[in-house]
Amino acid sequence: MQVDEAPLEKAFDATIGAGDRIEPRDWMPEKYRQTLIRQVAQHAHSEIIGMQPEGNWITRAPSLRRKAVLLAKVQDEAGHGLYLYSATETLGVSRDELTRRLIEGKQKYSSIFNYPTLTYADVGSIGWLVDGAAICNQVPLCRTSYGPYGRAMIRICKEESFHQRQGYELLMTMMRGTDEQRAMVQESVNRFWWPALMMFGPPDGDSPNTAQSMEWGIKRHTNDELRQRFVDMSVPQAEALGVTFPDPELQWNEERGSYDFGEPDWDEFWQVVKGNGPCNTQRIAHRKAAYDDGAWVREAALAFAAKARADEND
């Protein structure tokens, strides 16, 4: 049966235009649904893959307090992935299906997690810079047009602010420690600064989906706007910490009321996005191993539940 979608699209546009939310059973343009699935799934994948670089240090955390903090933080990331996969389920795609798309390389996740964590200071840099950049990206998403996504983001943002705080606190504590520790912090910040800037995506001119996503209220600021906001926010934090960013072009621009900064290496960015980053293969292999190794457990639990139901019906 052919349906005239014009009035539905008009109602949809009116809802978006009024700043109201779209909910799961509302009619929505297919392309809106596809764009949302892609964005929320990538976000969910990023949380799950993001467990690995920090999880890498759980067994080597240098104090019991830090061990507890890091365990809880990585656990939160599993929780965030779970909330976000739940949001995609309301769009008609199951977590299982999305996990398979991730493992098969059909869907992406944030490139930052394809960089290795090489010292314990990286746990701090990830909290401060990577989670900080994520917060810049994510806070506006609490008002995103799709209800379930926005609600998931509200809880995630609350938890992320604690993540950023623990990262910064770790670095502050290390800066009050030994010379070796201070050097470790600076070296780590040097490595993570540029990848953190890349987290906002390619320059606006090279970001083909941005315009439509903004019109639909899925995205609320352009990549370059968010990147600038992040730089302006981070420079005073670095000064307070006593570290520098590895960018000779970084300086205050009185006229703009913002910091000027250098250009990230976009060739490196595209290499990592296209799967050639230092850890792409390793991250996916790790996720695939967990998924495959767990298959027998998931099947056993389903079989057990089915038998229990059958017993009840007898």
Partner: protein
């Protein structure tokens, strides 16, 4: 990869944050049965002691109203809040952060 049908069903989670308040929907999760769903809900949604009481309901058992009740055409096939078709095709050449 082999087709794997062993996905646990979805449950909706409702939490009473303190005595005297309603249970409020906080999200969903997967579990093989209701008993494990309750345990999962405790671990996932009350990691920071947010709740004094938890309800879990199979998502498939929730009957929902349609936003356009007047127009039966768009009460989408069936009345389930959650559907699980897997035919949505997502472009793979997506540049992203």
């Amino acid at each position: 990869m082999t087709e794997n049908q062993a996905e646990w069903p979805l449950y909706e989670v409702f939490i009473r944050s303190k005595r005297g308040l309603n249970h409020v929907h906080v999200g969903s999760l997967h579990a093989p049965d209701a008993e494990l769903a309750l345990r999962h809900a405790r671990d996932v949604y009350t990691r920071r002691n947010e709740g004094v009481s938890i309800w879990v309901v199979p998502s498939a058992d929730i009957t929902a109203s349609s936003p356009q009740e007047k127009d039966p055409l768009f009460a989408p096939s069936g009345d389930k809040v959650y559907r699980h078709p897997t035919f949505y095709d997502i472009p793979s050449n997506v540049p992203h952060m």
